[in-house]
């Protein structure tokens, strides 16, 4: 009885309303629920990638860490099915191949980047810019196929040199874009000061602009090198792999990704765990490189 009395008195009173509260309470509630749902779902989606990454790293670590011993780095592979041995030829081979890739890829990428940033107003520059963008999108196996047809087939031999060439093509766009971008960030005043002092155009670029942008260029190169070190498909068609120690850049050569590929397909425990150990090295390599790059470029500082 008292309840109905209360409500009766309330309807008689003048309602005091919060002007900021919407008229339709259920609609408002619905909007809040939708908003919370969006936050929760998008957070879950963001976590998917992270959870998988961490799971993968932990899984590979569990499977491979026991085999990551000193002999893994210093000994040659043993016959399939036997235990022991290491992947020393593959590590040496990878270093040689990535070194060759750097030898070709860095100058090509660097000068392309310089061209785009410094002389980039002609029709040729827009063609080059388009081609560099195109290179980024071509699957890496196509580069392997290209070098296979161009070098390996005529030479009748797979080789570390061919592998380095195929990887260098992958590096070009990354290095070129990084170079172009950092060169554009160099202040105009710096160039003008150099020219005002009587320096020629080439001297200005070489001794003033490039040194002030060098850290950004190194960043791009580091990332490109870490990325190509884990490439498998182009190497399959160009260096083929080998189980012997490195002898010459003109011969088939072992490489870490190729060794992992071979061991993945082997039915023996030792080789499989060594494949995981090799994978762990590759994962650490790329993550450390990206971490260093992001840290160096200030990517971890909170921004708006």
């Amino acid at each position: 009885m008292s309840v109905t009395d209360m409500s009766a008195t309330n309807t008689n009173a003048v309602p005091v309303r919060n002007p900021f509260r919407p008229e339709n309470q259920t609609l408002n509630l619905r909007r809040q629920v939708v908003n919370s749902a969006a936050v929760v779902i998008s957070a879950l989606f963001a976590v998917v990638g992270v959870v998988f990454l961490l799971y993968l790293i932990i899984y590979v670590y569990q499977q491979g860490s026991h085999f990551l011993t000193l002999q893994f780095f210093t000994q040659a592979p043993v016959a399939y099915g036997e235990s022991g041995g290491g992947v020393q030829p593959a590590i040496v081979g990878s270093l040689v191949i990535v070194g060759l890739a750097a030898l070709f890829g860095i100058p090509l990428g660097l000068f392309t980047g310089i061209y785009l940033a410094e002389f980039g107003r002609s029709w040729l520059a827009s063609v080059v810019r388009f081609m560099v963008d195109t290179l980024t999108g071509i699957p890496t196996i196509i580069f392997g196929l290209f070098i296979w047809v161009l070098i390996v087939v005529p030479a009748h031999s797979f080789s570390a040199l061919a592998g380095g060439m195929s990887l260098s093509i992958i590096m070009i766009p990354t290095v070129a874009r990084a170079t172009e971008e950092v060169l554009r960030l160099v202040p105009k005043e710096l160039r003008e000061a150099s020219i005002a002092l009587g320096a020629t155009e080439s001297r200005t670029i070489w001794s003033v602009v490039l040194p002030s942008a060098i850290s950004g260029i190194i960043t791009g190169v580091t990332l490109a090198l870490a990325r190509v070190a884990g490439e498998t498909a182009p190497l399959l068609l160009t260096t083929l792999g080998s189980s012997f120690a490195f002898r010459s850049i003109f011969r088939p050569t072992a490489a870490l990704p190729l060794q992992i590929f071979d061991y993945t397909l082997s039915p023996y425990d030792t080789q499989i765990h060594q494949a995981y150990a090799g994978s762990l090295i590759l994962i650490l390599l790329v993550i450390l490189a990206s971490f260093a790059v992001r840290w160096a470029t200030g990517g971890f500082k909170p921004r708006d």
Partner: protein, 336 residues
Amino acid sequence: MQVPVSLSESAVGKRSRALLTQMRVRARHPGDFIFRGVTTLFVLIVLAIVLGIAWILLSDSWPTIQTFGLSFLTNNTFDPVHNVFGVAAAIYGTLLTSAIALVLATPVGIGAAIFLTDFCPRRIKAPLAFLIDSLAAIPSIVLGLWGFLAFAPWLQHTGEPWLQQHFGFLPFFQGPMHGYGILAASLILSLMILPLITAISREVMAVVPRGQREGLLALGATRWEVIRYAVLPFARVGITGGVILALGRALGETIAVTLVIGNETNAPSLHFFDTGYTLASVIANQFTEATPGSLFFSAIIEAGFILLILTLITNVLARVLVARLGRRSRVGGLIV
């Protein structure tokens, strides 16, 4: 000082000078001239590489183009013994695995990007973005190793039976379960392109003008409504571009797919449990057996040529869409 002068007078020098004059470039100093010449030379090498790739793939696939014509695209048999070649199954496998991967990765990738740009506490934003980007850096051989030894067997014993039990009424989840096949390849591909979609979506959403968000907030919109009505419509074109870019990546992925897809030429079907083939895995699997100059050799090159055309189309389309936003992406430069 002798060298620059003599070099500029050589035949090569004259030709490059002609080229430079054509570009209306006047060098004031021999050093400038040489520097420009060397730079231009390197740029021309890069151009030659890109054009050389297209030319070599086209000319070496010419024998099969002439022999089979369009039937190469529609024929299902890839038979080196009888010299009959067609890559219909591989094209179908390439498109199907990439399509499934896109369907799975797009909502998750965009959702993650929304969380990172609008909902995420500032403190964990950068580390979280770093971890998601790192997934893109994992070499594909590592995913292939895990897929081949851990994921595909798990799919066969646990994942696929579960799907068949609960969704078996759909044609996709019927038939024998191998573990290795279209489904395994698609799932691995979706994990590989997920960070790419997130990175580009994030980049695109970040350039939505601040005033546009704040205006809607001031009108009393919730955070989600800001995204729904102020951010997503603005970023839609760029996100579409990013998704197409990811499609290009999925089309050409080789090693991880080759290890889990089973590599069998099956008639195109809707059964996701079936084994299959992709253009890239045809190349990776068959190249060692082809004698240079044979029709088999040429068929492998043509598979590569078709793949090149597919990825070129997707990439040009994607870049046109992303470029409409008028900014060369910074994250894109690092990731893509």
